[in-house]
């Protein structure tokens, strides 16, 4: 009697992971199909470049397959994969930073020289915005941050990691994380307010 063909699309992530851990590559392919957009989106948010994001997300999937036996299910599979892609992005960004000279603006941002002078933004610049418009503006503002400030915001606000965990991943002190997060938030507020003013101007 012929064996019944597996319906991978009907299987849960946990079942697919177990199959893939036994070497079933079709099960892994289904996991990739399910989560590829999220993994790619995280790579893009950090790299701000489509080609880099595609390459790094694929590298993350290859690493995911190679390390799959280490996955014990403490977190969801997507969370585990997201951590892999974040680490690969951090490595790539560190490499990029070493290769290019730092701009004066970046050095000022690092020391907090620019944002500390900024007045507090009132009223709320995001009030009354449609969700899609708000997301577009957030993305636009993120694009204008240095990679250190953007990364700390992504890890804290989107990945919801604690200061300690961010410090570990970014290989810096908790104090540096707090300082970067503070200035990143302040700059985001100022940028969001500036978009509002520009668009309201006649």
């Amino acid at each position: 009697m012929a064996a019944r063909k597996k319906d991978y699309t009907a299987m849960s992530d946990e079942m697919l992971v177990r199959s893939a851990q036994r070497g079933d590559m079709r099960a892994f392919e289904e996991l990739v199909a399910r989560h590829r957009d999220k993994v790619y989106a995280r790579a893009f948010s950090m790299m701000r470049n489509e080609d880099d994001a595609v390459d790094i997300s694929q590298e993350a999937w290859v690493k995911g397959w190679q390390r799959l036996k280490q996955f014990q299910g403490e977190s969801s599979f997507l969370t585990w994969m997201t951590r892999i892609v974040i680490n690969l992005c951090l490595d790539a960004l560190r490499k990029q930073k070493r290769q290019r000279a730092e701009s004066v603006e970046e050095m000022e941002e690092e020391s907090g020289g620019v944002e500390r002078q900024m007045p507090v933004v009132t009223p709320n610049p995001t009030a009354g915005l449609e969700r899609s418009e708000l997301r577009q503006r957030i993305d636009k503002a993120l694009n204008q941050l240095s990679y250190e400030h953007r990364t700390v915001l992504i890890l804290h606000e989107f990945e919801e990691l604690e200061y300690k965990e961010i410090a570990k991943r970014m290989q810096c002190s908790i104090g540096t994380v707090m300082s970067r997060l503070f200035y990143a938030r302040r700059k985001m507020a100022a940028l969001m307010a500036s978009y509002k003013k520009t668009e309201l101007a006649p």
Binding site: M25, E29, V32, A33, R36, D37, Y40, A41, F44, S45, E50, V54, S57, Q58, E59, W61, V62, W65, Q66, G112, R116, V120, V121, T122, N124, P125, T126, R131, L134, R135, Q136, I138, D139, L153, H156, E157, F158, E162, Y163, M178, S179, L181, F182, R185, R186, M188, A189, M192
Partner: protein
């Protein structure tokens, strides 16, 4: 407001401040308008960002994207297998001078032990030995630390009692 207070306001917002300090910061936000305004801005920014990441779709088809991943996985596995299989011969290639030297030493030791019975006659200096049956001739010089073995394809010519060749 100094940097320490600014960062404490933020830590309070993120729930990363110990309970005792949290009480102090809470009091500060009520008593100090500047602290309250800054806290409000941080709070608004955090609330705007949470859950509002722009969604993105991969710009490649499922098949194309997966095919590159699959190729990379298979290539890495094949490379791993090649490394594993070459390891067996790899050590021989790497250590061949030591290995061949040891092999020669073992051959010489065996030859010496069988030809000269070294273990029972330690006092000799030079020995010549002929093996009529096999047609070989061995010369050993302890002074020069060498052993020479000739192997002849022709039977050794017989000699008469006076040492003259018979044939």
């Amino acid at each position: 407001m100094n940097t320490e207070i600014e960062l404490k306001l933020q830590s309070y917002l993120d729930g990363e401040l110990p309970a005792r300090e949290a009480k102090q910061v809470e009091g500060l936000t009520q008593a100090d308008p500047a602290a309250r305004a800054l806290f409000g801005e941080l709070q608004t920014t955090r609330a705007a960002l949470r859950g509002n990441e722009l969604e993105r779709t991969l710009p490649e088809s499922r098949e194309f994207y997966w095919s590159k991943i699959e190729r990379a996985i298979l290539a890495a596995e094949q490379a791993g297998e090649r490394r594993a299989s070459s390891f067996g011969l790899g050590w021989l290639v790497r250590y061949w001078p030591q290995f061949s030297g040891a092999a020669v030493a073992v051959v010489l030791l065996i030859a010496g032990a069988t030809q000269f019975n070294w273990f029972s006659s330690p006092g000799w200096d030079e020995i010549e030995n002929t093996l009529d049956d096999s047609g070989s001739f061995t010369f050993r010089s302890e002074q020069n630390r060498m052993t020479l073995v000739w192997v002849s394809s022709h039977p050794q010519a017989e000699q008469d009692e006076d040492g003259e060749l018979v044939n």
